[in-house]
């Protein structure tokens, strides 16, 4: 029983990170109808920035805050410079742009900070949380920060004017434009927020997976799985999906002998395929109907 509880809690901790990545993916998907494959690499790059700031002697939480701000600005900039000019272009152009971003950030990080694995300190420390063996301090901290972030985002989208404007722009761009909302800037804002959320996820997971240019590859895959489970059209669903994927992955790794540690990643792919076969719009998403 204790093993089970332990695995569920650990699953929720990593699930929170998947939830953040899923949310970042869904936010951009809602705004531009495409999946941003570079989301993970952007988060990885942000984490390197945080690492660099800490190396320069910044206190952890100052570096944490500064990285969020820098990532937000970079996200806005990427939308304005790279995506804006091709916003009318077909899907393939977007895919190519995303792949370009992915490899630029990946190689850029390798070039700037080399490919060796780096330690990224946890601000919460290691050791068991509250003297219990159920969950360690860093996992508990991850869950807490994720929940804080999600509550903040919920309040932002529900109760601020700019949050409402962003929802309007994503739901019905043409109508939003007729209400005077600058839809293009709302999209850029969405990119900034997605980049900032990704940076939080990266900084939280880095002490677990170690910092290196390919660290977010599997995380993003789990994030995609979470987004697909919850439904790409539902931010709340994506968050729940992320948590669910984290727990499922951990339990399967523990209790299904063939899966073990090595096969964990294929769980994400199995989940994606299974959901797409059974309920393509996800558990909470709206089915998409197109007139042809």
């Amino acid at each position: 029983m204790e093993l089970f509880l332990h695995q569920v809690l650990a699953g929720l901790a990593t699930g929170g990170i998947y939830a953040c990545m899923a949310l970042a993916v869904v936010m951009i998907y809602q705004a531009i109808d495409h999946l941003n494959f570079a989301q993970g690499e952007m988060a990885m790059f942000s984490t390197f920035i945080a690492w660099q700031l800490i190396q320069w002697g910044f206190p952890y939480w100052l570096a944490f805050g500064a990285t969020i701000v820098i990532s937000f600005a970079a996200g806005v900039l990427i939308e304005r410079v790279v995506l804006r000019p091709i916003h009318d272009a077909p899907v393939l152009s977007h895919v190519v742009a995303f792949i370009a971003l992915l490899s630029i950030f990946n190689s850029g990080a390798g070039f700037l900070w080399d490919w060796t694995i780096k330690n990224f300190a946890s601000p919460f420390g290691a050791g068991p949380f509250l003297g219990q063996n159920l969950i360690n301090k860093h996992d508990a901290g991850m869950i807490a920060v994720t929940i804080l972030l999600l509550v903040f985002l919920y309040l932002f989208f529900r109760h601020t004017r700019i949050g409402l404007a962003m929802r309007a722009a994503a739901a019905n761009p043409e109508s939003a434009r007729l209400a005077g909302i600058r839809v293009g800037w709302m999209t850029a804002l969405g990119w900034g927020m997605a980049a900032a959320i990704g940076s939080v996820a990266g900084m939280l997971i880095a002490p677990v997976v170690f910092l290196e240019p390919n660290m977010m590859l599997s995380i993003l895959l789990y994030g995609f799985a979470g987004a697909v489970v919850g439904g790409l059209t539902s931010p709340g669903g994506a968050v729940l999906g992320g948590f669910a994927v984290g727990v499922i992955e951990n339990l399967a790794g523990t209790y299904i002998p063939v899966v073990g540690r090595e096969m964990k990643l294929s769980i994400a792919l199995c989940i994606i395929v299974a959901v797409l076969c059974v309920k393509p719009s996800g558990l909470f998403g709206r089915p998409v109907v197109t007139r042809v």
Binding site: R161, L164, N172, S175, A176, R177, L178, A179, I181
Partner: protein, 237 residues
């Protein structure tokens, strides 16, 4: 009275296909002008051109300022509220959120709240449904919400694209009554596009007739109503 909106030699294109040919039309300040025509004549395109949603050339002036070629968001901010065909409802948002979206260009929490109450004054049924998802409203209620959302902009000119479309006759009568009141009380000028010519000519004081992208007739609404050809072709008696 002066003209609030003027279009001269207005051409509009979808890709390389031209759909409007040298349109010239005027909307009098404080008046209601209607644009009549059959399906596919270019009525919706005319409205879309005026609010910057089509590729156009020619001259469009609003309140003396040239607005041709400007971005939709900027045109809207000058005080032109476009109530689009199909109502443009934000269906997952609540009725009240829809109205708040309409006021997105404005500042002042208290003023906006007062304006929402004012819209509820004109459309009491929206007040009953204020927390309901807008997509669950009936067609008539959604059309009223669309007009209400447009009012939240405090517009000087309202572009209405077939507000009667798909509504029961009684609902249409109620809606057009409210449009008349809004025009009088709130001093909102209107450019109304309609297939229901009898209805439109009743409300409007000036009318244009458009056929395959060209204006073929214009004059006081009364004159068009009495015109024998119009009566046969568009009024059906």
């Amino acid at each position: 009275m002066s003209n609030l909106l003027e279009a001269r030699e207005l051409n509009a294109f979808y890709g390389s296909i031209q759909v409007l040919f040298g349109l010239g039309l005027e909307v009098e300040d404080g008046g209601i002008t209607t644009l009549l025509g059959a399906n596919g004549a270019g009525k919706t395109t005319t409205l879309r051109s005026l609010s910057g949603m089509c590729h156009t050339n020619g001259e469009i002036r609003f309140d003396g300022k040239s607005i041709g070629g400007r971005a939709t968001e900027d045109i809207v901010r000058l005080g032109i509220a476009h109530v689009p065909q199909g109502r443009g409802t934000f269906s997952r948002q609540t009725v009240e959120e829809n109205l708040q979206i309409g006021a997105m260009t404005r500042w002042g929490r208290a003023e906006i709240a007062a304006d929402i109450e004012r819209v509820y004054g004109y459309f009491p049924r929206l007040k009953e449904r204020r927390t309901q998802q807008a997509g669950t409203l009936s067609g008539g209620e959604q059309q009223m919400l669309a007009v209400g959302r447009a009012m939240m902009l405090r517009p000087r000119l309202m572009l209405l694209d077939e507000p009667s479309f798909g509504l029961a006759p009684l609902v249409v009568e109620e809606l057009f009554g409210i449009l008349r009141t809004l025009n009088k009380n709130e001093k909102v000028s209107m450019l109304l596009v309609e297939q229901n010519a009898a209805l439109a000519l009743d409300l409007a004081d000036h009318a244009y007739l458009i056929e395959t992208g060209r204006l073929v007739m214009d004059g006081p609404a009364q004159k068009l109503r009495d015109d024998e050809n119009i009566r046969k072709a568009y009024l059906g008696y």
